[in-house]
Symmetry: C2
Subunit: 198 residues, 2 copies
């Protein structure tokens, strides 16, 4: 059986990454979306193991020391991280893994696992991203501006990424992501072994 | 407009490359299959510019000296080569280009144009390739054996290729080739320029 691969999906807030990832998951039940661990308290409706793995600070610290995170960071006083165990288990089962994380997390994982494929979901233009952020209607202009600025920063350090998917239409973005995942399973390391074995 | 890319398709005799390439071309009219130049005489039914560009030896020699071939080789007393002009013109028009050539030709092109994507179409197994070669019924066992041997040789030097497509079923092989071509258009060089321009 072929082994699963890890696909890191980054992209600025408002680009529509959540919608695209949801569509990918719906189209392929074997796909595994990594669930982050966090020390923050659950909000109403959030389930342990579904939205996050909720850990105490002590537990989180133990996992850090045991090397149980592929990446982790502190944000507004809480820790967030990608548990190694679930990712490896899914890949061992032949499932591809999606990591929806930020570019700093992607850089941490890249250092340990350069074979993890890094994909940046980009807006068709910065004006369009601004329109989408304003269109949400949930944030004031100052927050919109700060998200845009962070988006541009993430974009500027993403030049080393393997792929850029432009989320112009969701259908097209999903098609491109699926193409990337299939193409990455056609790499010589995986395929030559397959043929030689027979 | 996006620029076209070059995809080099190699693979052993009998693997079904012709069928797969024909299906690709039928599914995408913008795709351009490079037509080789040769000094051998046309066979019945062969048209100049369709099956080959038929050149005199003098003309072929001039093209070599002018650097007008992306790759060329001599085979059983005749010259064969890939004219640079038609490939570049198609790419300038935004068309992707397929080159159906052997691994030696692929190596020549790779030295000049490392950005050309190299894909090896492989059989699901060597036994299956043997069955397909015998199944054609057009060749005696000695020729089958010599083709198999050459196929294994080509495979053994194709480790540096970008992708391996296993032609188990034509549908699957075509799907993988299309995925590879789409994925390669999601590379940062192409995409970052697209976003920055806006």
């Amino acid at each position: 059986m072929r082994r699963g691969k890890t696909f890191i999906i980054c992209g600025p807030s408002g680009v529509g990454k959540g919608t695209v990832v949801a569509r990918l998951l719906a189209s392929d039940p074997a796909l595994y979306l990594s669930v982050s661990a966090t020390t923050r308290l659950p909000r109403t409706g959030e389930e342990d193991g579904v939205h996050y793995h909720f850990l105490t600070r002590e537990r989180f610290q133990e996992w850090i020391e045991a090397g149980d995170f592929l990446e982790y960071a502190q944000y507004v006083g809480n820790f967030y991280g990608t548990p190694r165990l679930y990712v490896d288990r899914a890949m061992d089962q032949g499932r591809d893994v999606l990591l929806d994380i930020d570019v700093q997390g992607a850089a941490q994982i890249h250092r340990q696992r350069p074979e993890a494929v890094r994909i940046f979901v980009a807006p068709p233009s910065w004006e369009e991203l601004e329109r989408r952020l304003i269109g949400r209607g949930t944030e004031d202009m100052e927050k919109v501006r700060s998200r845009l600025e962070r988006g541009r920063e993430e974009f500027s350090v993403a030049g080393g990424f393997d792929y850029f998917v432009i989320n112009d239409t969701v259908d097209r973005a999903v098609e491109e992501l699926r193409a990337i995942m299939l193409a990455e399973h056609c790499r010589p390391e995986e395929r030559m072994a397959l043929i030689d074995r027979k």
